[in-house]
């Protein structure tokens, strides 16, 4: 088992590590049960393998020699090796079910976060119109996730918490956990240097940057959060991070930072942030390359062919409609797979996105 000190390395564990970080109340129980089962398994395995190789060597005989014995059964012995292992199985079942029931019983007054899963990303709903792909939690605070899917089955998996639950379209699935180890913040200098590097290379803080620096664009170390149920092309990139704040003030400050546009931020700049943060970027490119959905580049002001054969001018109204009701007008050559963002984006958010899309097109500038 890993000491908590390993969490200083964020999600990066050594090659020889057997478990990921242990950072929730479940992880200790699950790991000890795992070790216990492994121990019992090893006990039987060693007996079986010893007997297997010992017999194979000891009773190896030249062809034609008769076996020393032709005993064909021994009922008490056979009953013994049927019944004794069963006792261990009952133990595993009971302990497993007990911990499982804990995992399914949410404590009253848990901190609630909404989760929207879609191809291929996550949106966490912190209430009051604050959405962000990262999952931010409070240390030692039981947290309940209420999860829904926009399209196909996904599965939310945080290895460090030993917790996983499928996100099934058409129903709400829930899970809960209590983080026990906070993820520290890196020094301001380190963060500033990393931000500068990313900016100079002209990119945004994408998956590669998370992997490279091992902290978020706000400077927090993190635990990995994976999608564990196969969901299509970019299933393996449907990852985000979990940050555990040490104090409520710190968490609230982070939520506030992302709650709205802020007075000093332009519509275009905020639109770009939303583009990265709300999952637009996983399907729509900004350089003209083709992804699951049409590219934003030079979209505004152009005529777009639709799947039903007609054409439409890409203007503010069309863009707004496509965000709120994506299946109303389907662009020719694309599948109607975009989920609706109705109720998930404020008017100001939509204005920002439209402003950003306009800025990517000659006609809009």
């Amino acid at each position: 088992m890993l000491p908590a000190a390993f969490s200083l390395l964020a999600d990066y564990t050594e090659d020889y590590a057997w478990f990921p970080d242990s950072a929730s109340t479940f992880s200790e129980e699950v790991d000890s049960l795992y070790n216990w089962i492994t121990g019992i398994g090893l006990f039987f395995f060693v007996i079986v393998i010893f007997a297997l190789f010992y017999f194979a060597v000891k009773y190896r005989k030249a062809k034609g020699q008769k076996a020393e014995s032709q005993v064909s059964h021994n009922t008490p012995l056979e009953l013994a090796w049927s019944v004794i292992p069963s006792i261990f199985l009952v133990g595993m079942f009971i302990f497993g079910a007990k911990v499982y029931l804990d995992m399914r019983t949410v404590p009253d007054g848990s901190y609630g976060v909404g989760v929207q899963a879609f191809k291929w990303g996550w949106t966490m709903d912190y209430g009051k119109g604050t959405y962000h792909p990262e999952l931010h939690l409070l240390l030692n605070e039981p947290t309940k996730l209420t999860m829904q899917s926009s399209d196909v089955i996904h599965s939310l998996y945080v290895p460090a918490f030993r917790a996983k639950k499928d996100v099934v379209p058409g129903r709400y699935n829930y899970m809960w956990f209590e983080p026990t180890v906070a993820t520290p913040k890196v020094s301001d200098e380190e963060l500033a240097a990393a931000l500068k590097e990313v900016e100079e290379s002209g990119g945004s803080w994408d998956q590669a940057a998370y992997d490279k620096y091992q902290f978020t664009p706000d400077g927090y170390k993190f635990y990995d959060l994976y999608c564990a149920e196969y969901c299509g092309e970019n299933h393996s990139e449907m990852q985000t991070v979990v940050v555990v704040h040490e104090t409520r003030e710190d968490l609230d400050a982070w939520i506030k930072k992302y709650s709205s546009r802020g007075d000093d931020v332009s519509l275009e700049a905020y639109g770009e942030k939303l583009y990265n943060r709300r999952g637009c970027s996983s399907c729509h490119s900004i350089d003209g390359s083709q992804r699951v959905g049409p590219s934003y580049k030079d979209a505004y002001g152009s005529m777009r062919a639709l799947a039903n054969g007609s054409e439409v001018l890409v203007d503010e109204n069309y863009l707004r409609e496509s965000i709120i009701d994506p299946k109303a007008k389907i662009a020719a050559g694309y599948a109607p797979v975009m989920p609706s963002y109705k109720g998930q984006l404020s008017d100001d958010d939509i204005d920002s996105l439209i402003a950003y899309i306009k800025s990517l097109s000659e006609a809009g500038q």
Binding site: L33, Y34, I40
Partner: protein, 578 residues
Amino acid sequence: MSAGTTLPPGVVRDPGFPTQSENYLTNSKGVLSWIFTLDHKRIGVMYLVGVSLSFLLGGLLALALRWHLVDPDGALFSNAIYNQVFTLHGAIMVFLFIIPSIPAALGNFLVPVMLGAKDVAFPRLNLSSFYLWIFGAIFFVLALCGSGLDTGWTFYTPYSTTTDTSVIMATLGAFILGFSSIFTGLNFIVTINTMRPPGMTWFRMPLFLWATYATSIIQVLATPVLGITLLLLIAERTMQIGIFNPEFNGDPVTYQHFFWFYSHPAVYIMILPAFGIISEIISVHSHKHIFGYRFIAYSSIAIALLGFLVWGHHMFTAGMSDMTTIIFSALTFTVSIPSAIKVFNWLATMYKGSISLTTPMCYAISFIFLFTIGGLTGLHLGTLATDQHLHDTYFVVAHFHYVMVGGTLVAFLGGLFHWWPKMFGRMYNEAGGRVSAFLVFLGFNLTFLPQFVLGSRGMPRRYATYDPEFAFLHTMSTHGATLLGVGLLVALIVLLMSLINGRRAVANPWGGATLEWNCTSPPPFYNFERAPVVGDPYDFHDIEWDAENERYVTIEPERKLAPETKPVDTPAHAGGQN
């Protein structure tokens, strides 16, 4: 036939060698004689070629997947192509290789011979199920490739229904293959029920037949559910009846229930025949009576029945009710006991035996090692709390490969080496065979042991790219897969070389007591002239090694005519018997 110098007194029984016109391989010539054959042995050989080609294809895809994963960002394919390749790998291996491998290829050859019968009960049905398999296989592969299906072999809704109609075509392909499987199962059930020779009671059947019988029951009972699932999928797509699709108030988890109600028992279709093969190999090559015959026979049936009740453990994280989840966990544990019993029985069979470390025995030992790991790691997954962490990770990948590859494939290879002399009348190079067993064992462990660690550390399955911290273990696994490929290649070369320059096989090269060793190698097209004498299939008392002719023979006590002497010519009252 002359007896060897060391043989005990008695009459030597050995059928010798078949003539050209008796040998089932040579008694008729030309392609048509194979295409229209009703001989179960030829159909078995054709199946063997078919499943081997499928395995080759699936195996090359597996190697491609492994080599893609040496680089965290993916070395060979785009994400989309990777997804199609793993779908193809899984679907081909499951539906075209593992399910038909032992029952259809080895089973077809062995069931009638082990019964001392001339053929299966319905030879024409047997041939038709082979053609159904060919047709289904082509249809299935075309459906997968034609649409670039990337749903995984499980076709989970709603992902599979949002793409296009190809999921219906693919399920239809699986359904046609299923019919082939049903026909074969039906055939074996009738054959075993009605065509046992006089004296072969149920408990004098070789254990391979028990395993085949249990498998056939599952095939006949479970496969129709796949058909029902297909019909519901079609109804869902054409009429939006709202079973699987959440857009019409359906529930995608219902699809998983239907799918696994077939596919979980199908897992036992894959492993039960392997148990049968191992029971035969361990007993014959230890030259000792199988230990706990009845427990092994009953445990096959127990697995077949319990296997129908545990499908829910594929959905432990899907959001079933807590009660359902806990009940499925309890049922899952019950199915592990019959498997454990078998392992102990095999070990007890080896105890105080006279073990020959032949190639089949090496594979059988390898099987016990690998299957024990596969079985024990199932406990982590059956336990609810640990499963929440390990579900859908590489731990699961490693677990089922230990059971399906370390179990079924290794048993299939062991069985192939065991019955190869019988099937083709040629002995292979023993040293080469043992080397292949060793390489397969080594390569397999190197491939899949690291995956247990990967899964415990939280690496999800079906990932085309992954976090850099997993790279070391992935690379190890890839090199293991290459070694495994080399081992399998060696096995193939050893077997093929035997056809070219192998020594002619005697009727009983290993010293087996079951009926197939009582006819020539290869068997004549009619198997047995008349139903043979049936005794205990694991009684090795009368089987002796004939060193001079390098063969095992059955020694029968010299039979005397009674009365021994000729009666006197003149009756006593006439003055005889002086």
